[in-house]
Amino acid sequence: MRKTSFFVTILFLFCTALVQSQKIDLTELKAPSSPAFTILGIQPAEIARPTSYEAFQASLFENLSNTEGFSIPQNVALEFTPFWLAAHPKLSFEDLINSKNIASNVLQNSSVSIATIDINSELDSIVNGTRMGIGYRTFLFKGSPSKENRSKLMTAVSELKKTQRSILGAYQPLFQVLAENPSINDADELKEKFNAELELFFDTQDLSTEVEEMARKIYTEEVLPSLFEEVYLIQAPNTFAAEVFKNLSKILSDKTVGIEQKLKEKAAKVEALIVEQETNYKGFYLEFSSAMALDFQESKFNNSYIHKWGVWLTPSYRTKSDQFEFLGVVRYLENRIVATNSETQNIDAGAKIAFQTGRFSLSGEAIFRFQNVTSSTSSAFETTNSEENIEDLKAVLTLEYKLTDTLLLTYTFGQNFDQNTEINGNVVSTIGLNYDLGGKKIIKDFALN
């Protein structure tokens, strides 16, 4: 039943994601890599590839090594970017898409991650409790956008602006006439003024023929037919212009109007290219991460202590062809093991090579650990302190397959560190599912002014 329910879960998520799947891009989603997971020691791949940091990203894991067999994944991590929770009126479009200085990189890419697991390690004396991981990461350097992508992006922006200017060409002269003639009461006179203002709009500035033709088309086909609807019925004085203004506003807000759809399509294309640019930077990256694990004995808030904390740097280099990526990690970790009354200080150094083609990605990594263990044992008569230096190794292979643009399946196999307090043994055999829940809020439509 558990095996069946696991595959039903995968099938359900796959079908749900397939409804909204678009063009496949393997670099859009990476294996789950939040610092909060890493500090909890349940991350199958220690070294994370850079991501684009969506507002929220949920990661699900299942460990095939579990002797009880398959079960519904329980380890969930959430990651969000605080920068975008605040208003940024001075942040221009150019600031967003261009390479930034270190301070801007750090601020805009800072993300916070939170994860929880039940404590069940035999090496810890805590019988029951909850362990919470809190992590932070950001980019110090973010590489350079590819020239090809930048060229496509600028073309898409130019197309979007043409459409925006065409709409201004169709509506702005009319709003201008209504503002200049608030007491006008004759539809024919108003139409004459509209036509004259439209000509003035194009005669007094140098807009492209394409923009002018589009603006005239919008005015003739989408604005004029409905502009004077129901206005002839108005009897009250000095309300004619105001009623035409209301109609104009209504037409502008009408979602069924073709130009609204055109704008949306062009904006979606620009957004997709910006996302592609952020996930396809070439050259050198440098990511900074830090995290700590808090243990809550018997899951009580007032019975907690810091079990582990660490900081690490992840440099990486992505080739122009996108097929190869080289990553490294340098990390410092401190770990408190209650069962043996000992503390460890770890310095990790590792490297990873990743290869991708189509939907598949294959990577291999090795991390060397230099560990210092200090422990204290007490008897009735004396306390003995000891210190030991240990060298350890973790080596894993990871296979990733992108099922859809929001669903990534991963499998990791290899050897974990011999000295670890999170799982029994040192075999890593983990299947993971990364389902992207990120994206913007949908705000309910509301009526005209």
């Binding site: 969506e54 942040l91 979007l160 925006q164 200017r165 201004l168 609204e260 957004e271």
Partner: protein, 112 residues
């Protein structure tokens, strides 16, 4: 698309010349258009675009139309800032109704 109307008053000095700049925030991009005091239209990315002289502007108004479309994956917010002679006059912020939606800001500035 959503229409947002605003009215602003601005004091002018008859001996000075005035220039308008429109900036869009929240990492979004847009286009603007207005008719200056001489009756000429200006459309596009408006940076220090001449409005007129204080003497001709007093007692009159300009109407600025701006379209900003959401292309930022991180937020649905848009904002627009009006500057005259590089001094910030007003900033307005509005969220689009749905992803890749558009806001039409229509702002009338009265010169006194």
């Amino acid at each position: 698309m959503k229409l947002i109307r605003n009215d602003i008053s601005f004091n002018v000095d008859s001996g000075k010349r005035y220039y308008l700049t429109i900036k869009f925030g929240e990492g979004q991009d847009g286009s603007s258009s207005f008719k200056d005091i001489e009756g000429n239209y200006h459309t596009g990315n408006l940076v220090n675009t001449q409005v007129g002289t204080g003497a001709k502007m007093e007692g009159k108004f300009i109407l600025i139309g701006s379209i900003v479309t959401d292309t930022n994956q991180h937020t649905n917010a848009t904002s627009i800032t009006y500057l005259i002679n590089n001094i910030e006059v007003a900033t307005y912020r509005e969220e689009v109704a749905e992803d890749n939606g558009t806001i039409f800001y229509s702002t009338q500035i009265y010169f006194t």
